[in-house]
């Protein structure tokens, strides 16, 4: 009897651990949908069978530690896209510029395009600007400038906003900056990966405890894994690649 209970307990613990290690990454459809198309990505994957993505961002596009780069969302995105788009060779490069504002990032945009020659640029920004209390007009102009640079070179773009960080919510006023990003993305007809709302949703539904404290990287790695999957879905949908996609075997 004791053994049965012990076995049942063990099974329960194992399943709990297994569940904890592979969160469902559930994201409501409306948060990933966008009316704008990634035409260059579509052409590149269908005709050239390759896809080069550059991620330009600040500190929240990377994780610290030896495993950091491999578990951060750009690497996860590459892994997921490689699996879901087996007919194309997918490469994701990450350029992290910690503590740079959107304006700093926009200035470095042309050089980055020349160096990496991406088909798609995922531009993550906003957090540094909100923390530094950058003028909203200047923030908007920086976003405009960066997106114009991308669009002039014919590179597709996805704009990514800030992380949802419940503990620092009263200290960093993200709202006006997130609103600005949404409006600018709409004006340039660029999809917005709404990381803020997505992570907020995960916190509300209890998928992740974002209030947690602790030095270990497990939570951070899981969140980044889910973010990578979310972006992959957004890219496949907005580039209209659903037809050639290898459905995840789940």
């Amino acid at each position: 009897m004791t053994r049965v209970i012990a076995a049942a307990l063990l099974l329960w613990v194992c399943s709990a651990v297994a569940f904890a290690q592979s969160p469902s990454c559930e994201i409501p459809g409306y948060l990933l949908e966008s009316p704008y198309e990634l035409k260059r990505v579509n052409a590149s994957v269908l005709q050239d069978h390759r896809l080069r993505i550059a991620v330009l961002g600040t500190g929240s596009s990377i994780l610290a530690g030896p495993e950091g780069p491999r578990s951060a969302y750009p690497a996860r995105l590459e892994a997921v896209l490689t699996k879901r788009l087996p007919s194309a060779s997918v490469k994701v490069v990450t350029v992290v510029r910690s503590r740079e504002t959107a304006e700093d990032l926009a200035i470095g945009m042309s050089k980055l395009l020349a160096d990496e020659k991406p088909d798609l640029m995922i531009w993550q920004c906003g957090t540094v600007d909100a923390m530094r209390n950058v003028d909203l007009d200047e923030f908007r102009e920086a976003l405009d400038k960066g997106l114009e640079t991308l669009q002039k070179s014919g590179v597709d773009a996805i704009l990514m906003n800030m992380q949802y960080s419940p503990r620092t919510e009263t200290m960093i006023a993200l709202g006006p900056y997130a609103d600005t990003m949404r409006v600018v993305a709409q004006q340039h007809e660029v999809p917005l990966f709404d990381r803020l709302s997505i992570m907020h949703h995960w916190s509300d539904t209890g998928q992740f405890d974002l209030y947690a404290t602790g030095k270990d990287n497990v939570l951070a790695a899981q969140v980044h894994d889910c973010l990578g999957r979310g972006i992959a879905t957004m890219i496949i949908d907005t580039a209209r690649l659903g037809a050639i996609e290898q459905k995840p075997s789940q």
Binding site: E33, G59, L63, R99, D135, A173
Partner: protein, 412 residues
């Protein structure tokens, strides 16, 4: 004192008898306080509290989600109105110097209150800095950088240049009050010119991007050169402007336009939360309306506030019976002690957020924290009312010569 006498004495200002006030000749203004102002300022204080608790489900009821303007607009307008009402009367009776000095003293009180709130903010952020470690949020922790150079930061805070999140409203008031004595003088001497000057400053601010600098970068979140329009407009209304506008306000056409505009704003705000609805907004319209600039008090915001005021004033008359009822006592009492209740509200929003991070951020907690906060604000307002009344009754106390900014409406 009978209930009627008591309410009359309250209307006229604490500690003053009706006889002292009645004989003064005042062509364009009324002597009795409009309780609707206290009511709406009290409600605005509650809404500001709810909006300042991050990720608060209860904040969905606040007006910012249903149009272009929010509680801040109501608050600034009512504060301009009551400041002109209280200090305008004093300026007519006791002259420019005395009333000007009182206005500056009020600005000083608000400055002290702001510094007090900053101290609480520092305590909170230092606590988070020492307790909170999560590799996911390494970047967000850079917000603590300013702790590395407290010498600069604290001085910048005292200069009103470093303003943490949600602490932008009081600095706006300080500036508005510092500039108020000459504006008030002009409003009484040449009201049209004063209002015209305010509109001109607003227009020039938009044209030339005037604003005050912030630390470490950027500008004031509530641009005083733009937001002064709402404050001066409130003051202008208090000094007879409302009566001059009364024929316009009473017309059915105005009401119809106001309601149509509110409906339009409601639809646009609907598209912010329901993404599918966004496709019904043509892009040329988006080009025109966005961005709705809060920093510089967008014209759309100002118009939304006006429309809201027109509709509300139409359906809630000055002598609306519930204003004297127990039901509305709570928001009116809060509105009458606005500086104290505003500061308490900011503190309580910090405390509510703290409870949400330390205990639970669940929905029940958001509802409990919101309700408890409003209860504490009301209880504090009740206590302040009682305290003031007890002081006034004390036979040993000196008779009050200065206007009671709080009970008479006050500013902030």
């Amino acid at each position: 004192m009978s209930h009627r006498e008591q309410s009359l004495a309250q209307e006229l200002g604490d500690g003053e008898t009706p006889r002292q006030i009645a004989p003064t000749i005042r062509p364009a203004t009324t002597t009795t306080r409009d309780l609707r102002l206290d009511l709406f300022r009290g409600i605005a204080l509650w809404l500001i509290f709810l909006d300042h608790i991050p990720s608060n489900i209860v904040a969905w009821i606040t007006i910012r989600n249903y149009g272009f303007s929010d509680a801040t607009d109501i608050f600034v307008f009512v504060s301009g109105y009551t400041a002109a009402f209280v200090y305008g009367k004093e300026m007519r009776e006791r002259g420019f110097i005395v009333s000007g000095a009182h206005i500056l003293r009020r600005a000083w009180q608000i400055y002290v209150a702001h510094v007090f709130l900053f101290a609480i903010y520092l305590a909170e952020i230092v606590y988070v800095a020492t307790r909170f470690e999560n590799p996911l949020y390494a970047e967000e922790m850079n917000i603590l950088d300013f702790l590395k150079q407290p010498d600069v930061t604290i001085i910048q805070a005292l200069l009103l240049k470093f303003k943490p999140a949600n602490m932008d409203v009081l600095p706006l008031y300080i500036i508005l009050l510092l500039l108020f004595p000459p504006i008030l003088w002009l409003l009484q001497a040449r009201p049209t010119i004063a209002l015209g000057a305010s509109v001109l400053l607003y227009a020039l601010t938009w044209r030339f991007n005037w604003n005050l600098p912030s630390y470490p970068s950027g500008h004031w979140f509530f641009n005083p050169f733009a937001w002064q329009l709402l404050f001066v407009f409130g003051a202008w209304c208090a000094l007879g402007g409302a009566q001059r506008l009364s024929s316009v306000l009473r017309s059915r056409l105005t009401l119809a336009i106001a309601m149509a505009y509110l409906a339009f704003a409601f639809f646009i705000s609907f598209t912010w939360y329901v993404p599918y609805a966004g496709q019904f907004v043509p892009s040329w319209l988006e080009e025109i309306i966005y961005p709705i600039d809060k920093v510089n008090l967008d014209v759309l915001r100002f118009a939304h506030f006006l429309a809201l005021a027109v509709v509300v004033m139409r359906f809630i008359p000055r002598d609306w019976p519930p204003l004297k009822s127990r039901l509305l006592w709570a928001p009116i009492a809060c509105g009458q002690h606005s500086l104290e209740i505003f500061c308490l509200g900011i503190f309580l929003s910090f405390a509510a957020h703290f409870a949400m991070t330390e205990i639970s951020g669940a929905f029940w907690m958001q509802i409990v924290a919101s309700a408890l906060g409003i209860f504490i604000m009301t209880a504090a307002a009740g206590l302040l009312t009682w305290y003031k009344r007890a002081e006034a009754r004390n036979p040993g106390s000196r008779p009050k010569k200065t206007p009671d900014a709080d009970l008479a409406g006050g500013e902030v």
